[in-house]
């Protein structure tokens, strides 16, 4: 069955530290991949997307993600986290219909 897994429910990092949020998918072919961010009380905003080509994609707010076909992964990274990055992050996969992971909540310590 098609699925999207975000293994980490909650991550805490210190401000200025690096961040990596994990996403794994299970699909027959290479799907289209997305990362969304949801600030408290808000809807989802697109951070970045991968359709094809360069496997390292840049997004808004200094985020990037790397597609690794061999690992069926699309992990989100940021070299230096800011307090305003505290939010919930969702990985999503589109392969005919859009599927979302359960989300990873990010807490940023001062």
């Amino acid at each position: 069955a098609q699925s999207v897994t975000q293994p980490d429910i909650h991550i805490t990092v210190s401000e200025g530290a690096s961040l990596e949020l994990r996403c794994n998918y299970s699909y027959g072919a290479t799907p289209y991949l997305f990362w969304y961010v949801q600030s408290p009380g808000q809807g989802l905003q697109l951070l970045l997307k991968y359709f094809s080509g360069d496997t390292l994609v840049q997004g808004i707010k200094g985020f990037e993600a790397e597609f690794k076909r061999s690992q069926s992964s699309f992990n989100l990274r940021k070299p230096s986290v800011h307090w305003s990055d505290a939010a919930e992050y969702f990985c999503a996969v589109e392969s005919g219909d859009m599927r979302f992971g359960a989300g990873t909540r990010l807490t940023v310590k001062p």
Binding site: Q42, G43, L44, L46, F51, F90, E94, F100, A102, G103
Partner: protein, 113 residues
């Protein structure tokens, strides 16, 4: 920019009431979606629509219905609200072709007492 608006940010209803959640978009997108979001479960698709007067069931349609009479408006209806329908409801839109990103409204937090 795409703007997706939802009629209410917060809503409190009683068990058995009929509830309408409205979603309006201003970018002429063909596709519209209704999700519910619950902690630890991510977003689950309730219904979607690819065109006016068209609707398709998502993963959890039970207890819900939808209406799309105009392209820009997609309504979610809870015929008889129950406490297990307390949730955050998110509307989204996308262009008509496949594999496009979705644009989300701010959400409606519904509490059913």
């Amino acid at each position: 920019d795409v703007k997706v608006t939802q009629s209410s940010r917060y809503l409190v209803k009683r068990t058995g009431e009929k509830v309408f959640l409205e979603c309006v978009q201003d970018m002429d997108h063909e596709n519209m979606f209704w999700y519910r979001q619950d902690p630890g479960l991510g977003l689950r698709l309730i219904y979607f629509s690819y065109d006016v007067k068209m609707k398709e069931k998502g993963d959890i349609p039970e207890g819900y219905s939808v209406s799309r009479e105009k392209k820009e408006r997609f309504s979610l209806i809870l015929e008889s609200a129950s406490t297990n329908q307390t949730s955050m409801y998110l509307c989204a839109t996308s262009l008509g072709s496949s594999y496009n990103e979705q644009f989300f409204g701010p959400g409606t937090r519904l509490t059913v007492l």
